[in-house]
């Protein structure tokens, strides 16, 4: 109230933002108009208010002209509110005596009539002038940051982020939903453009993660609940029952050959369904942790349906030869239940990755209809020495006269399946051109087949990528420009009999071609994970229309999200290759460390508080608060707000029947004056 008594001396600044604002708004006219308003001591226009001289201007004016309120009309507060609050404070005022008007995103950028845009700027300015008169001095609260970090997803992004943090001495929880970390990269045979073996460069990092003293690795686990705010998150993790006591399992795998199933007969997801596994299995030889898993859906010991809580009923009908084999280690526990863990962390890095496009969604390419049509990920497993065929490239369908499986003599690789297509996904998946060429090289190496790449455009922007393309051209791989129309078994000539015919318009030669091949590889694009929507809600993130998680700023805050303390890395933010993923994971780890090493976060003082004497104790507000920040004092029959939990959403303020909840920076007097300002301008 004391602020009201002293004479109001408002300083107003309108920014040209180069041409961004000045080209559509007459900044001088705005300043001249504001100058005349009551309480305004001075009004200036300036080319770049955010520049150093611009900020110094504010500071000097505060001192020389005894200003006690500052209004800047420029860009979005998201960009520079912080800057100008700082300048206001440096000039000797409380930073909350400042208010910002957005005349760029809300005005100059979205209008085409200069006269009207200028009038709008004047109206918005008057609203701010009236509002700022009611501003109060507020204090920024500092909240300590919990030093531990949660990394969600154990692909190469999560592995690299976790290792970076752990090596810096931070404690990390790495949560992965599959039985092993490694993600998609663990399935790849070699990596482009250097052709180094994916396993050779990945598995050392995986085992480091497994043994690092600063990393708590929870595989086969899901994050189920996230509460709290930056610096102080409480996270619930469900550790799914793997029916193995992790600490007791030595990874000897004696149980696997001794399983009552003599032959593996269940779909092996790690090998993209090309191989089989038993009910007790380890996903791949270098799996981390080296702990087996029992699949209750197919294990004979569980063939009795489910308990009401969803856990499988132990039938004990099996001979349990696996338990015998495990012997004194006693690592197998059929009674194991899902376990809920609760952890406290200060920061979260989300690295939940991608899924590959379901090739069946483009029926014209025959995936699922013709057996010798493969996805690129299937080929990765097929050429891999630890894959289902030991690295031998053999066709699913067709036998040699001696009964042995056939090797392809000609192979067509179709690019952009589920990418750059209005009917499926509009985006370029960024990695397919490169991995298609890598697979072309590997397939040629393994089979000596004729290789055809069908592409729309070759996209090779990366270090050494164009060189790799040239290398492939020299190797004699055929490149045909054109989006393939269809893959069919409709033969028109004797040479086409028994082959898959790729029909394509060769747009360089200007002819329609029919190319018969033995094997078709579909370069499937990258898509957001199927449950990306749930994950997004869990961590309170945003996503774009395409479903990828949204970074705070596409250029300047690429690993931040709109939720403080939640960072992104890897393909969950958008398609990218391994080098980019690792770079982003490192950046996310660094951003988390910025907060941890600073030790505290500043909290915007836009929190709500309850006018104690007015509160009737009706409790209407309590269930409405999304952050459970409102508590009830049973003795005094009054509600009160935990300031540390309040995020300033204003829900309770609107809902309170007795208007006894007030929100800092959004008090009635401030908002109504602002509205009056806009409306009274003519």
């Amino acid at each position: 109230m004391s602020a009201k008594k002293e004479e109001l001396r408002i300083g107003f600044y309108v920014c040209h933002c180069g041409h961004n604002i000045a080209s559509m708004v007459d900044c001088v006219a705005v300043a001249r108009s504001v100058e005349k308003l009551p309480g305004v001591a001075l009004a200036r226009d300036y080319k770049y208010m955010c520049s150093d001289p611009g900020q110094v201007l504010i500071q000097q004016d505060i001192r020389e002209h005894k200003l006690n309120r500052i209004v800047v009309a420029s860009c979005s507060p998201l960009l520079h509110e912080h800057t100008f609050r700082g300048a206001t404070e440096a000039g000797g005022l409380n930073p909350f005596y400042f208010h910002m008007v957005n005349i760029r995103e809300h005005d100059s950028w979205v209008h085409t009539d200069r006269q009207e845009a200028t009038e709008k700027a004047k109206a918005l300015a008057e609203a701010a002038i009236r509002r700022v008169a009611h501003h109060k001095a507020l204090e920024i609260k500092k909240v300590p940051i919990h030093p531990d970090v949660l990394v969600v997803g154990g692909g190469i992004a999560g592995i690299h982020a976790a290792m970076t943090l752990a090596n810096a001495g931070k404690k990390v929880y790495l949560v992965e939903r599959e039985p092993s970390i490694g993600g998609h990269m663990a399935k790849f045979d070699k990596t482009f453009p250097t052709l180094d073996c994916a396993a050779c460069i990945l598995t050392p990092k995986m085992s480091e993660v497994g043994s690092h003293p600063n990393i708590t690795l929870w595989t086969y686990s899901d994050v189920t609940k996230v509460d709290g705010y930056v610096g102080n998150y409480t996270v619930q993790v469900k550790r799914k029952a793997r029916y193995i006591i992790e600490d007791l399992c030595t990874g000897c795998q004696d149980c696997i050959p001794n399983c009552v199933f003599k032959e593996p007969k269940f779909t092996d997801d790690f090998n993209e369904g090309l191989g089989k596994r038993k009910p007790v299995y380890i996903p791949f030889p270098q799996a981390t942790p080296q702990v087996v898993v029992i699949d209750p859906e197919v294990c004979l010991n569980f063939k009795r349906g489910k308990n009401p809580d969803g856990s499988p009923i132990v039938s004990d009908k099996c001979k349990k030869t696996c338990v015998e084999a495990c012997g004194e280690k006693n690592a197998i526990d059929f009674t194991q239940k899902d376990e809920l863990k609760e952890i406290k962390v200060g920061n979260i890095i989300v690295c939940t990755g991608f899924k590959t496009f379901d090739a069946g969604r483009v029926p014209a390419y025959g995936y699922g209809t013709y057996k010798n049509v493969y996805t690129s990920l299937e080929i990765e497993r097929l050429v891999n020495a630890s894959g289902p065929t030991g690295g031998e490239v053999i066709l699913r369908e067709g036998k040699n006269p001696d009964g042995s499986p056939k090797t392809p003599k000609s192979i067509g690789i179709i690019h952009c399946v589920g990418s750059r297509d209005k009917k499926t996904n509009i985006w370029c998946s960024r990695v397919c051109c490169m991995y298609s060429m890598k697979l072309a090289h590997l397939l040629k190496e393994h089979t000596d087949a004729e290789l055809y790449n069908f592409y729309i455009d070759m996209r090779t922007p990366g270090k050494g990528y164009e060189e790799f393309y040239n290398k492939l051209l020299e190797e004699g791989t055929h490149f045909i420009r054109g989006r393939v129309g269809e893959v069919t078994d409709w033969a028109m000539t004797p040479e086409e009999e028994g082959k898959l015919v790729i029909r394509v318009e060769d747009t360089l030669a200007g002819v329609v071609r029919r190319i018969p091949v033995d094997m078709v590889v579909l370069a499937t694009g990258l898509e957001p994970q199927a449950d990306a929507g749930d994950v997004r809600r869990l961590f309170n993130m945003s996503c774009g229309g395409d479903g990828w998680f949204l970074e705070r700023h596409p250029k300047l805050a690429p690993v931040n999200t709109f939720t403080d303390g939640v960072f992104l890395a890897g393909c969950c933010q958008g398609p990218k290759d391994i080098p980019d993923t690792v770079a982003q994971a490192g950046a996310a780890a660094a951003e988390a460390m910025v907060l941890i090493d600073r030790g505290y976060v500043e909290q915007e003082p836009n929190t709500a508080f309850i006018l104690d004497q007015e509160c009737s104790g009706c409790k209407s507000c309590i269930p409405l608060c999304p952050y459970t920040a409102i508590l009830f004092d049973e003795e005094r029959k009054k509600a009160y707000i935990n300031e540390a939990l309040c995020k300033g959403c204003g829900t309770c303020v609107g809902a309170c029947p007795s208007s006894s909840i007030v929100q800092n920076l959004f008090e009635d007097s401030e908002i109504f004056s602002e509205i009056e300002g806009v409306l009274s301008y003519d």
Partner: protein, 294 residues
């Protein structure tokens, strides 16, 4: 179930067998089809290519009559009619300018088209409104052993794949299987039959028909089943020319509705197989045991 029925010119002319077989089949399934009063030519694809505004107005007149009749569903068996009416409906919804043009044109004859009716294909109605179970119940003479190549043509799936997949439709496959027939797997389900090129550029048009017929025979089909009067005409009427230019490819092409009538045991004058130029071989007599059971 009652539908407004838009026959179009083909079903009254070259595609007479389609109407003659479809009407009794639908009646047999308890479906009522009320022919639109004073319907006019849909304009087909030709008119659309010349003047979209006038073509839409002509087609919309039929939709307006359907709306006036109070029936919300328009059954259009001919592929060209189905496409043109759908396209008109689509244009009316998407393009305000077209809506105005059409409204002005219709106003002169005292009609209004709100664009509220649904243009439906018989396959859509058979599978999604009536259901295959109901169809199966009417089958008295399963088409056992008959190998059918289902041929959809282009117009009912492109560009508006309203009830089936654009490149690999399966509604007719499932219908034929419900009738007891064996569906031949072939990849030419939606390939071009030549369309009107058979008349204007026979060398190109007939070649496409020839490819279809040849591949159907190669895949072991006894008969091609189609949904489109123009496809049926092209595949059935040009055999002498095709034989002279390439080789004889003698395989009959009938409407799916004729095969339905056959499976339902309807009388010959409602199955009208005699309308085809390439005769369809009679079905093998039902096995004695099955006949006795009945």
């Amino acid at each position: 179930m009652k539908y407004a029925y838009f026959p179009g010119c083909s079903l009254k002319g070259t595609g007479k067998a389609y109407e003659e077989s479809l009407l009794p089949v639908m009646k047999h399934l308890g479906v009522e089809m009320q022919e639109l009063d004073d319907w006019n030519c849909c304009g087909a694809t030709a008119y659309m290519a010349v003047d979209e505004g006038k073509a839409c107005a002509a087609a919309a007149r039929n939709l307006a009559i359907a709306e006036k009749s109070g029936l919300q569903q328009v059954l259009a068996p001919c592929s060209a009619c189905y496409l043109v009416l759908n396209k008109t409906q689509h244009y009316l919804h998407e393009y305000p300018g077209m809506r105005q043009t059409v409204a002005r044109a219709l106003e002169t004859v005292g009609l209004r088209c709100e664009g509220t009716s649904a243009v439906r294909h018989p396959l859509d109605i058979l599978l999604n409104d009536i259901g295959l179970e109901a169809v199966k119940q009417k089958v008295t003479r399963p088409l056992k052993g008959l190998k059918v190549a289902p041929y959809y043509g282009c117009q009912i799936v492109r560009p508006y794949a309203t009830f089936d997949d654009q490149t690999n439709p399966t509604t007719m496959d499932r219908l034929l299987e419900a009738l007891g027939a064996t569906v031949v797997k072939w990849p030419l389900k939606t390939k071009c039959c030549g369309g009107s090129l058979t008349g204007t550029l026979p060398e190109a048009g007939l070649r496409l028909s020839y490819i279809l017929l040849k591949e159907a025979i190669k895949r072991g089909a006894d008969v091609i089943a189609t949904v489109c009067p123009l496809c049926q005409f092209n595949l059935d009427a040009y055999h002498p020319k095709i034989s002279a230019r390439w080789e004889p490819v003698p395989i009959p092409t009938v409407y799916f509705s004729q095969l339905m009538g056959l499976a339902f045991g309807l009388p010959d004058n409602q199955v009208v197989l005699h309308r085809g130029m390439i005769p369809m071989k009679p079905l093998a007599a039902p096995a004695p045991a099955a006949a006795a059971a009945r």
